[in-house]
Amino acid sequence: GAGVSQSPSNKVTEKGKDVELRCDPISGHTALYWYRQRLGQGLEFLIYFQGNSAPDKSGLPSDRFSAERTGESVSTLTIQRTQQEDSAVYLCASSSRGGGNYNEQFFGPGTRLTVL
């Protein structure tokens, strides 16, 4: 079946504007993750959704960042009043189940965000 998809693939915006990034997980995957990859750095965890449980927002860097998920499907990451340091590749991943036991995370191609 189809993998994780993300849109847009590239987004260029001006400082101070809001942006929305979309993630479509693999069908049937209940867990969804957002990560950020800044230039020359590893991936940083942002937020995690598992079914109907409250999301783990512990990785969000500021209150300008928020994310929503509709049931067990699409997720949207919103960045308000973008800053230049928000420039990064934003990666989404999904897995069949989160929690303590291991379930492989499958990554999308990412959205490259450039804030001018």
């Binding site: 867990a31 993750y33 990560y35 750095q41 965890f45 379930n103 492989e104």
Partner: protein, 114 residues
């Protein structure tokens, strides 16, 4: 808290030479260990993983990694690299029972030259 350190940001190597990409981690709880690979202009893919059992794990394309608990390391090796192995490699840990969020190292760019 957990952290992952990849000691080399760039590793240039000639084709058919051996390579080792180093990874050390720090964690107060038990973790699963992973290597991910990101080929140019492609998404992140799982290369291999250690969950339990034998401390030596292998991938289908000739890479292997060994979990060393006493040294808290999970170095990645390949005895003979190919041009097609050129990519960025990320080491990651997944703490037990903490919701599934991966903690990544900074990445190592492997560049294989003819």
């Amino acid at each position: 808290a957990q952290s992952v350190t990849q000691l080399d940001s760039q590793v240039p190597v000639f084709e058919e030479a051996p390579v080792e990409l180093r990874c050390n981690y720090s964690s107060s709880v038990s973790v699963y260990l992973f290597w991910y690979v990101q080929y140019p202009n492609q998404g992140l893919q799982l290369l291999l993983k250690y969950l339990s059992g034998s401390t030596l794990v292998e991938s289908i394309n000739g890479f292997e990694a060994e979990f060393n608990k006493s040294q808290t390391s999970f170095h990645l090796r390949k005895p003979s690299v190919h041009i097609s192995d050129t990519a960025e490699y990320f080491c990651a840990v997944l703490p037990y029972n903490q919701g599934g969020k991966l903690i990544f190292g900074q990445g190592t760019e492997l560049s294989v030259k003819p």
